[in-house]
Subunit: 322 residues, 2 copies
């Protein structure tokens, strides 16, 4: 093999680079770290493998490309066959790197909603010292997790350890879920999985199948005390219906790390929605050391497999979307 | 037995009351629920047992009192022998009722500090959509828990389930700690337990022994990236030194649910301290159903023991303070 591996991944440490270089060297692969856009334009045509965050519109110029290894889990912008110069380019994602960081985000925002932290932030901002009364707990709660991949499972394990009474997993294909899930629902039975839930956690990818999965009607099935958290993609939720449900008190609260559109315009009504915790799509990016380590490990494992012509992991079916 | 049980506990549900009344009836105890201060003044003198939140200054009038069952865990205001009309009144607390709610508060504030939520709250309040960069995780962290009773242990179990790498327990007496603690330190060796800790969790009662336990010098042992959480009593911490450490960036953040004094005056500099999450002593009060249930269960168990003249639980040594 004498191809070139092009890398655009600012989060790599020198140790990460040494590890990648070691295997590349052993397999006669040249490595090039793109420095800027001009550099990328000049050299992308030589690359057999691309790793990291490659702008989709640059892929047409990657005439030698055989494998695109995305550092993200969601890859909706890389699905169109027209993006690629050649057919049959292998696309892999980093599913599995984000379980720890996103599940910690979910635990944090869920506790903030149940313990009324947005309201307490307002109380302390006014320098007041008062109890707001009743709060709620993860302990003993019924939680519906939509999407039972790496992220949903990592969260379900944590919620179980925190004493959740009952965790329902909602998934696309019939399969046996890990033990941290108490019940298993096919997505067709989502309505049943929502009934009576104290919390609904959405961690599904942005695909045609998940578009508007949480409709206005389904939001109407939730309890007045229910809270909803979305860390997947904004497209899977009827955002207007959620704003209505929150502003009218039909549900107790929500936390969104993903919205429609992103970035959210400064004058969007979502910013001023009641009992809503907003974060700017940061639950799972490369800001946590362990996420970067896991991501590099996934790439390193796949690079070894690629060089040895063994079956690779985390290959995305472009027609399905993940 | 023909004494009176006086109860001042607004959080009791009708089911709680039925349970208490059942055992009281079987033991020929009369029950009186105090309705207001005049009612309390009129009837406290008849009470053999008092349960709930009894104002300390009223105890002098409780001439028949043999057992005071406090619904709180911290009982520093009930320790003075001069408060009581008779010597030898048994004082019990509700240690054990608060583990779930306070440990959830600690997990929440710890994640908020590690994931920079106070800063993200400011970003979203300004309707901005931007990543602040690096965050940190409970996963893989070193956590020092000062106070290894019900609350400290409940938190350590949760932190371990969330992937903490190493949990150090600091305690008063030599004993074997539960398995969720990786290391055991006597309080005399606190300095060693603080070195290198990513997070320090303080959950000790307010006693002479714990006063100013976290001195300015000890705060100086923490790392620039360390965070500190106090859910015990404000008196165990040099609050001025903590404000200095936070405002100068010598430590990364703190969360205080207890302060000196309480309530905190509106013009106190603590309100405007950098990277500090303040809550108004609400991590463990009777706002969570499960806390109320546990509290009533503890009282119910002790009431049974009292009536049967069996050894009671959670008796406070007034000279020690818990």
């Amino acid at each position: 093999m004498t191809g070139t591996l092009g890398i655009k991944a600012e989060f790599l440490t020198s140790k990460h680079k040494r590890d990648i270089e070691r295997i590349a060297l052993a397999n006669h692969l040249k490595i090039h770290y793109f420095t800027d856009e001009a550099d990328l334009d000049a050299l992308i045509g030589q690359c057999e493998i691309l790793y990291g965050y490659i702008p989709p519109e640059k892929l047409r110029a990657a005439e030698s490309l055989r494998w695109l290894a995305c550092a993200s889990s969601g890859v909706e912008q890389y699905l169109g066959e027209y993006l690629y110069a050649n057919p049959g380019v292998i696309l892999t994602n980093s599913a599995g790197a984000y379980g720890i960081t996103i599940s910690e985000h979910i635990v944090m925002t869920l506790l903030m909603l149940l313990r009324r932290m947005p309201e307490y932030n307002a109380v302390t901002a006014a320098h007041q010292w008062e109890s707001l009364g009743r709060i709620r707990s993860i302990y003993g709660s019924v939680i519906t997790v939509i999407g039972t991949g790496d992220i949903g499972t990592a969260f379900a394990q944590r919620a179980k350890a925190l004493g959740a009474a009952h965790i329902r997993g909602v998934h696309r294909s019939n399969r046996v879920l890990p033990r941290c899930f108490d019940e298993s629902y096919a997505v067709e039975d989502l309505d049943f999985a929502l009934a009576g839930a104290d919390a609904v956690i959405m961690c599904v990818p942005g695909t045609k199948e998940t578009e508007n999965l949480m409709t206005r009607e389904r939001l109407g099935l939730l309890k007045k005390t229910s809270v909803l958290i979305n860390v997947g993609r904004g497209s899977s939720l009827d955002q207007d219906a959620l704003m209505d449900a929150l502003n009218s008190g039909k549900i107790a609260g929500a936390a969104l790390d993903v919205t429609t559109p992103e970035p959210l315009p400064a004058d969007h009504p979502l910013w001023n929605t009641k009992n809503l915790i907003l974060t700017p799509h940061v639950s799972g990016n490369m800001t946590l050391d362990i996420t970067c380590d896991l991501d590099v490990n996934l790439f390193f494992d796949n690079l070894t497999r690629y060089c040895r012509k063994q079956p690779m992991k985390h290959i995305v079916e472009r027609s399905v979307g993940y």
